[in-house]
Structures are given as C-alpha cells and as structure tokens.
C-alpha cells in the first residue's frame, strides 16, 4: 500500500478507458452522475525514542521530526440507467518530510478504483475492473479481510482501527460475481496474474458465502493467493446495546519472519519464514457496546498462532543488540543487519496476543466535538500504544482533529521497538 504501484496505475487507466468507451456506447439519455472530493491535510510531529533497539540513541537512522501529507481523494460515479454504473476513485498525495537542514518533497498519484458494475439479472451483479474488496466483521483486526487485515503502516496509530486504513487501500484488478438471495449472498472474485515492472501480482480466487439466521450473520470464505486460507466469521447483536463478533482463518504459512543466528559471518542472522506445510490459526473476538448516553466502547482480542514465541522474541532482541558477539564489533555488519531488520520485520504485528480498546463519546461539551481514547496492547510483553483524539465537525463539510499517541514499553518489548516515543498529529478534512 505504501509503494508506488505503477503496474496498478497503468492497468487502472487502461480499464478506465475501456469503461469510458463502454459508457459512451451505453444509453447517454439515462446518464446520471455523483461525485465526492475530499481534501485531507495531515501534519505529524514526532519525538524520537532513543531507547529503541531499532535506532539506538536515535543516531542510526534519521527519524524526521515532522512530516506533512496532503491527499486529494476524488470519487466520481456514473450511472447508466438502472443496470450499469462506472465508479472511479483517484488519490493524489503530496508529502513534505523534514530531513535535517532541508525538506524532502514527493508526490504520487494512483487510481484506487475504476470498475464497471452491471446487473446481469435482478439478483446477479457483475463487477469488472480495479476494485477494493474489503471483508471481515471485527473492528481493529479482521483476519478474513484477505487483502489486508492489519495495517502495515504504524506511523498513524490513531487510526489503527482498520476502517480508516481500508480507505487508503488500493484496489485489485478483478472480475467479481455476486449472487443475492433472500437468505444471503454468494460472491466469487477472480484476479488474474500480472507481471509488469517490479510488480508481479499472483492470481487469486475468493469465494464468500454470507447468510443470516435471526440476529446471527455468518460468513464462510475461501481465499487462494500463493497460499490457501479458509475463513469463518460470526456476528451477533445482543439487545439494543451489544454487538459480538468473532472471526477466524486457517492459513498455510505466513509472511511473518523470524530472526535466527546464522552459521556464517555474513549475514550474522537469517530471516526465516513460517513453513508453508503447516496450518496456522488467526482469530479475533470483539464486542461493541453503546451506553444510553451514546458512549461507544469497542474491545477486541486478537490471537495469531504465527506470532512470535517468547523464545523468538528473545532471539530477535538479542540480534538487535550492537554488542552481540555475532557482529564481532564490526559496525558495517551491524548496520547491514539493521537495514535488513527494517525491511523484514513488521513491528506491530509480530506478537501472538493483542488487545485493542477504544472509547468514543459523540456530542460532548459542544455538539460537534467527539473525543476518543484508545490503546493497543501486546499481551505478551505488556507494551502498549495509548492514544487520544479529539475531532470537531464544522458545517458538515469540514473536520478538524488532533491526535496524541504515546508508545509505552520496555527496551525489549514490541512497541518499545518503535523508534518514536510520542506522536502529535493535526488533521483537517474538507469535503466539496
């Protein structure tokens, strides 16, 4: 998601042209359209964590004190009569990043979505193009959201709630069939293999069956892309205040890499993947409670069998210690290892047990203010990200928010590895 995806950009543009040709062919007399433009300005100031083993003393890698991100999110939807529509979404992003005595600027543009929807019959919808398929029932952790169930970017931990992350996710090129019945629906999506430039997306299949029995909604899914996954999700509402949800996947192998001592001098450590011969389970269970005064609390426990054991954590921390004899006092070998670590370890999702808690109280003090507090804890080592956010809505067109994140953890703990101690994020959104 954080990469510049030229392949997807190219394919998205080609699809868009095809769609426009199709649209021109369609009945222009019935043409209707809607649009939404959103401009987002986000300024982040961060304090360096000098204790972090990933950046000891704050000297190994440069952590920018601030950066600014501007995003123009465009969505246009054309409808051609009752049966077909064309959706187009684009993101233009500009970034300014402090780097010592100068600033680094960059811009990028990508087509997030460009797809055609067509109702073949009353209960059969066909989508073709580049589309974002989301999934899952829980809130922060959604194992059955196969295209990204957890944020890989921990720079914005205030929106670790996956809802926000899904918004900036780029779509997949696919063909999607959906059959709707009175009792539920069946979806089958297919994505072809692509190999253009640096990207070689593998083909995928996704089959999902959703059904409703009383207050119980259930989802059964099968996903294949490099490895097979089977998912089951259940959602149940209890009374007028509670929603309980549970979702799981069984997966072969994992992207998670562990660090082990190498027999060689260079590299001193190896990065090992989980075996593809083994089946692992990932499971999330959540509650959503709303009190009479509107206070909303979400709690979620997440278990990953693929996560690090205590022994693996120890060997990881040992490998990050500059005084480890494996480096033999050679700073170049140490630096090379640290660069590999940054590329291979996804800090924030290496653990086995997590707990997420968020409380939001809408309409306090004055009517348009929404305070929020949240925390994400690695239950193995107790390290936590604690955050608070306050949001103000203005005339239904603009939102202003300030977020403060505090990373709490010992030197040898997951969130203690994050090379920042605090984050302060000021954000404003305009919709026009």
């Amino acid at each position: 998601m954080c990469k510049v995806n030229n392949r997807k950009l190219a394919s998205g543009s080609q699809i868009l042209i095809l769609f426009l040709l199709f649209a021109a062919e369609s009945a222009f007399a019935n043409l209707d359209y809607s649009y939404r433009f959103e401009f987002n300005e986000e300024f982040t100031y961060q304090w360096v964590n000098k204790k972090s083993l990933l950046n000891p003393g704050g000297n190994l890698f440069y952590v920018p004190k601030y950066f600014n991100r501007s995003i123009l999110d465009t969505e246009i939807k054309f409808s051609f009569g009752e049966k077909s529509s064309l959706t187009f979404r684009d993101n233009l992003i500009g970034q300014i990043r402090e780097k010592g005595t100068f600033t680094k600027r960059s811009t990028r543009n990508y087509v997030k979505e460009a797809y055609l929807s067509y109702w073949v019959s009353k209960g059969y919808a066909l989508n073709v193009g580049k589309e974002n398929i989301t999934g899952g029932l829980c809130y922060a952790f959604t194992p059955t959201d196969y295209f990204q169930y957890f944020t890989r970017d921990i720079s914005n931990l205030n929106d670790i709630d996956n809802q926000e992350k899904k918004n900036s996710r780029e779509g997949e090129v696919l063909l999607k069939n959906e059959l709707f019945f009175d009792w539920g629906n069946i979806m089958f999506a297919y994505g072809p293999e692509f190999e253009i430039g640096d990207f070689d997306d593998k083909q995928f299949y996704l089959i999902r069956l959703v059904s409703y029995i009383g207050s119980l909604a259930s989802e059964l899914s099968f996903f294949h892309r490099q490895r097979n996954n089977i998912g089951l999700g259940l959602s149940y509402s209890l009374g007028r205040s509670w929603v309980l949800q549970w979702e799981n996947i069984l997966t072969r192998g994992s992207d998670i890499k562990t660090i082990e001592e190498s027999d060689n001098f260079i590299p001193p450590f190896n990065f090992l993947e989980r075996s593809n011969d083994k089946i692992f389970i990932e499971s999330a269970a959540s509650f959503n409670y709303t009190a009479g005064d509107g206070l909303n609390i979400i709690g979620e426990y997440f278990y990953k069998q693929t996560g690090y054991t205590n022994k693996e954590w120890d060997s990881t921390f040992d490998s990050l210690d500059p005084s480890n004899p494996k480096f033999a006092g050679n700073s170049l070998i140490y630096l090379s290892h640290m660069i590999s670590v940054l590329h291979n370890l996804e800090v924030g999702q290496l653990g086995k047990h997590y707990f997420y808690l968020r409380a939001v109280k809408p309409d306090v003090f004055v009517d348009k203010l929404e305070p929020e507090i949240f925390c994400l804890t690695n239950l193995q080592d107790g390290s936590t990200i604690v955050g608070s956010k306050i949001k103000y809505s203005f005339r239904g067109r603009a939102q202003f928010s300030i977020t403060f994140n505090y990373f709490v953890g010992e030197k040898r703990s997951e969130f203690g590895l994050i090379p920042r101690e605090y984050d302060l994020i000021a954000e404003c959104n305009f919709i026009f």
Binding site: R36, S85, V243, G396
Partner: protein
C-alpha cells in the same frame, strides 16, 4: 411482608388495567394498528426525511435521508429499512440498514458494512431506532389506559412496553387523536423509568391516500433546549426486494 405488598399491588394494578382496557369499545392493539397505518402505508414504500438538530432554538446540524421501508404491519422478521444520507456532504452516501432488529452501517469511503447497535446515535436527540422504526405494533405490547382531552382533542392514552431488549425505548406513553388515529404525543422512558424524550407529531398532510405526519419534534427531557425536528415528505410506494436488505448489497445502492 414487603413481598406480599408487592404481590397485592401487582394483582390490583393488573386487574385494574384489565378492567380499564375492557371498558373501551376499541382495543389497544386496534388503535396501534390504526396509528401505524397513519405513520406508514401497509406496502413497501420510500420517503424523504430531513432532520434538524436544534440547541436553544438555533439549528446546529441538518441531515437529509432517503428511506426505503418494507414489512410494515408484518412480523418483525420481515420488517426492514434502508436509509441513505444525502446531506451533509461529510455523511453523503452513508447507508443504514435495519434488518430483523439488527443494524449495519455502510460508509462509502470505508467500503465495508459495519455492524452497530440500535442505540448508537445518528444525530442530536435521534437514535437510529427513531429513524428506522415506524412500527409500534412490532416493537411494543400496548395497553389502553385512559382517555384525555389534549388541546381540545379527545385522545386515547396508551402505554407501550418494549417486546424485546433491542427496541430503542423500554416504555412509551402515546396520545392518539380519537377522531382520526393521528399520533400526537409520545413520551419515551428508559429502563430506570425516567422520562428520556418527548415526541410531538405535527402538520398532518395527505400522502398515499391518508393523512400522515409531516413533522415530528423530539425534545430532550432533561434539557428542553435540545430539540430535533424530523420532516417527512415524498411518500412513494415502491417494489422492494428482500435481497436489497443485506449488508453486501449496500455497495450497489445508488
């Protein structure tokens, strides 16, 4: 001793209400059915709803919705509704699905339907249940308790008690115009028995062959300067398929 007193009170109160209900020419259930007929036609329909949120007579927020309703007058299992926000811009395209007592919200920016509880607030004094629940008969057991004169109109006074936990309010007291079964005032009570909100139905106009309320004002019981006004318009009968009322369909709604 206390237990006996409670039992005696229960027997007396039940006996009294039984006698009082019997003494009227019309049953509470019939009244509620007629009131529900005023609040919505007996067939699937659509309407527009505009919600204004007021504080000390100053409008602080406005919201516009397009609502589709199916299953009125049938069992709860068949009662379903969809409400799509068209204003303000920050909520445009957001869809609320109510199906079989459950609520899902679809935010176009997020692209994923999320399950929420009926208690989660939509705007100001309006709970989601206020917007999507137009059917007293499915949600409450009713009892006709008295007749009163309200603003010169002879009224039935009914006590409604929630049939299920998921209903937005535990108890509702309802005043109904005897001459035309127009709902006039509703008092909404919480579990503790405390009055939470009062609703005033106003401006009845002809729509789909019946006079229907054009305005409902909901006033907070603790702070009466907090008011929410709901304006109903453009009632239209519409064919609505059951398959529309499920979370994965929301992406396809225009």
């Amino acid at each position: 001793m206390l237990g006996r007193a409670f039992l005696l009170t229960l027997v007396l109160s039940n006996g009294f209400s039984f006698v009082s209900d019997k003494s009227y020419a019309i049953s509470a259930e019939e009244i509620i059915e007629r009131v529900d007929d005023v609040r919505g036609p007996g067939k699937p329909f659509e309407l527009n709803l505009e919600i204004g949120d007021f504080k000390e007579d100053k409008e602080v927020r406005r919201m516009k919705l397009e609502i589709s309703i199916k299953g009125k007058g049938q069992t709860l299992k068949e009662f379903k509704s969809l409400s799509k926000t068209t204003y303000p811009p920050e909520n445009k395209g957001t869809i609320l699905l109510y199906s079989q007592g459950d609520l899902w919200i679809y935010i176009p920016k997020v692209r994923r339907p999320i399950r929420i509880s009926p208690r989660q607030r939509l705007i100001g004094q309006v709970a989601n249940g206020d917007v999507i629940g137009v059917n007293f008969a499915d949600d409450y057991d009713s009892e006709l308790v008295s007749e009163e004169v309200l603003d010169g109109k002879r009224c039935y006074v009914l006590e409604l008690r929630a049939k299920r936990e998921s209903v937005t309010y535990h108890r509702v007291k309802l005043w109904v115009d005897k001459s035309n079964f127009h709902p006039l005032i509703t008092e909404h009570y919480g579990f503790s028995g405390r009055l939470i909100k009062t609703g005033y139905y106003r401006s009845f106009v002809e729509s789909l062959g019946k006079e229907r309320p054009k305005e409902l004002e909901i006033v907070d019981a603790i702070n009466s300067t907090l008011r929410t006004k709901m304006f109903y318009s453009n009632y239209q009968l519409k064919k609505l398929s059951d398959r529309m009322f499920q979370k994965d369909y929301l992406q396809h709604i225009r």
